[in-house]
């Protein structure tokens, strides 16, 4: 099994692992000293008959030694920490490539220069250094993709920045790490690292406006989307103005997962989600619209066209 922190996929995470190993050696050394001492004491100094043991009360040299040695060790660790911190957190002197905004309970990913926005699935090109800005729309959240870089809080009124650069193409696990209310557990996300070509085509696909539905069922679904309250929270480019309260659905069908990684993005799951969101993600702000089976099929058919 490869633990995320021990399996870095970026220079940033690799630096953190390097520091991790260094500190582990120090900790293992101290733990070994303590454990061996305790074991020796238990083996050697168990109750002995014949009077009380030597009533020794201290030894100044020993005290100085076990103050000085840990002092040196923590000084070393401090120096290594500074080296690592400077390598991971580099100065920010340009506009961010991506802006991640935490919402209760999903992530918005905005690409300012490409003018696209998506949710819960952040795409990045392999090998390119990405500057990520992390904000929040409500409470404090925390962006954590352990194989890629450090975590950072999303704090109201602040803009935080982190760097990351994926070494190879993969889908990386990410989570909101700061407790943020009812559905903190399903505020997961993924970072999809792609080679330059597929990243470029992903950007182009996301930039395109939503396709007009062709089938009757999907057309009915599109009408429902406008007539019902969906559009009050969700944006679909070409249908209504910029709403940011809920995930942008312009290309919802292109995403791999639904509802903060709660479900695989399949038509059946999408339909279940629309039928009763709170049965799947209790506390979610997505209301139960009491759609009939026909409505559900039409709505699902429409959303599935949004590639």
């Amino acid at each position: 099994m490869h633990l995320s922190v021990f399996d870095p996929a970026s220079p940033e995470a690799a630096w953190l692992l390097w520091l991790w190993k260094a500190s582990m050696w120090i900790c293992v050394f101290i733990m070994a000293v303590v454990t061996v001492a305790l074991a020796y004491i238990l083996a050697r100094f168990r109750r002995r008959d014949g009077g009380e043991p030597d009533q020794r009360t201290g030894n100044k040299r020993l005290e100085i030694a076990w103050t000085a040695v840990p002092l040196v060790l923590v000084a070393v660790l401090f120096a290594l920490s500074i080296v690592t911190a400077r390598a991971v957190d580099r100065p920010v002197r340009r506009a961010p490539d991506i802006v991640a905004t935490g919402h209760q309970w999903w992530w918005e990913f905005r690409y300012p220069s490409a003018n696209i926005v998506t949710a819960n699935e952040m795409h990045i090109p392999v090998g390119r250094e990405i500057l990520l800005e992390v904000d929040t729309a409500d409470v404090i959240h925390d962006f954590w993709a352990p194989r890629l870089t450090r975590k950072i809080d999303a704090v109201p009124g602040r803009q935080n920045f982190i760097w990351l650069r994926a070494d190879h193409a993969d889908a990386y696990f990410g989570a909101c790490a700061e407790y943020c209310g009812t559905q903190h557990a399903w505020m997961l996300f993924r970072v999809v690292a792609q080679d330059a070509d597929s990243y470029a085509s992903w950007l182009a696909q996301q930039f395109a406006p939503a396709e007009e539905p062709v089938t009757t069922e999907a057309k009915q679904g599109r009408m429902l989307f406008v007539q019902l309250t969906c559009a009050n929270c969700h944006n679909i480019s070409g249908i209504n103005s910029q709403q940011q309260f809920a995930p942008d659905l312009t290309h919802v069908a292109s995403r791999q997962m639904l509802a903060g990684e709660r479900l695989q993005n399949t038509p059946a799951n999408l339909k279940d989600w629309l039928r009763d969101p709170n049965a799947i993600k209790p506390g979610s702000y997505m209301p139960d619209l009491k759609l009939s089976e026909t409505d559900l099929s039409q709505m699902t058919a429409f959303l599935e066209t949004l590639q």
């Binding site: 520091l19 991790w20 303590v34 209760q104």
Partner: protein, 549 residues
Amino acid sequence: MSDVPIAPGLIEGTAAHPALQSRRLEWVTTVDHKRIGLMYLFATLIFFVVGGLEALLMRLQLAWPGNTFLSPDAYNQVFTMHGTTMIFLVVVPLLLGLANYFTPLMIGARDMALPRLNAFSFWVFVFGGILLYLSFLSGHAPDAGWFSYTPLSGKAFSTRSGVDYWALSLLGIGAGTIATAINLIVTIVNLRTNGMTFRRLPLFVWMVFVNSFLIIAALPALNASLAMLLIDRQLNAHFFNELGGGDPVLWQHYFWSFGHPEVYIMVLPAFGIISEVVPVFSRKPIFGYGFVAASTVAIALLSLGVWAHHMFVVGLGHPWDYTFGASSLLIAVPTGVKIFNWIATMWGGSIRLTTSMLFALAFLFSFTIGGLTGVTFAAFPLDWQTTDSYYVVAHMHYVLFGGTLFAVMAGIYYWFPKMSGRMLSESWGRLHFWLMFVGFHLTFFVQHILGLDGMPRRVYTYPDRPGWAVMNMISTIGAFVLGLSVVVLLANIAGSLRSGPIAGDNPWNAWTLEWATTSPPPEHNFDLVPPVRGRRPLWDLAHPERSQV
């Protein structure tokens, strides 16, 4: 202040009043530090069982991925109540209870300096705890976590009254805790018996003394921030609201400037217990008395300057990270000094492996792990990976359970004979010990690994990623072993109270003054306080020819 605190007639007069003659009322009206201490222990035991049951509910929900035993809303209330209960209603008052019972006895005094203030602190704590649990009757317990970060705990995101109950009850308990700290300081400064200089003070008393100053320094920060939170919530102020010119990060600064000293408030008296138990069962005096006492002072001072290490991922900037990383790394040094001194105390001794000593050894082992994982947070770039994950859950339980609670268990097995007059059963004790030791490591060790694999804390469920289901199941099984160990402890206490062997004055052949009186001690504690000419008055009495000064 140097007078004997209560005129003997005062208590007798109260007891003689016909309306107050019932035995139950005697407990309610008592100002005797021993009875108050026992009531602290009893109340915290009840809260410990409640908090433990909450933990079991959480572990049941997390036993496998996608479990629907608890709704997210219920889970969030339960984990908030578990943390709040264990910290504010169990660990701190448990240590205050022991301090209450044993500080006057160990310094040869007849009571605390301010007995009625003492009773006030206790009752404020009890009613504060009840107030917290009344929140369930309002329909919704607090669910913003035990550190209630704003803006989540603000009116906009916590619309129900749970957080108000939380803040009000902690405000009351906090006031009581400060009163107890003042009481302990006044007692230790003024009521030491003849010859009991500060250089001869038992280390438990030393640590209680230092701890009391820490409480006075830290708790007001909590109370002030709770008041501000209440004003924000009830009167629409904007202390923590960035849209009104406040700052949610301010809450974190205020809360943790209480909250990290609080960690040491929860651990220093435990260090004190270990510093009493280890020498007695090694048949040697403490190694490096001066260093153990001085390192306590160092820890207390440093602990006031490490709070922002809870905030390394807030984005305060590198100057903050460097400063608080450095201070947090430094605090490891005096803590390490203590560990080495306890080991040196045992070295060359004649170890008696009583249940109390077993717990002291388990403390040394488990607390060292917890301390070392603490060092990996102080190396702040590692905190950027591991904070708010299950790794931090494992770390703090190694400190507070493997550390403080194991030390308290050592203290309970050590002092139960003094408090009750009867011995706890050693064979039940060993069963309790092994269940608790194994259950503890089973529950919490795998949580380190879960955290390192990316599992965030405070989640009501989790995706079925490789290994997560197995590790969570192991943790849940461990938690139930822990639950069983507590049942064994309760059975041992109940059985021993009824029919345990009579303890006598000094069953462990210990050296401090509490063992120079009867078990349990009379209301006035001592008929005659033995002369104090060294750190171990009873050892000196037994070895008049080798008396150390």
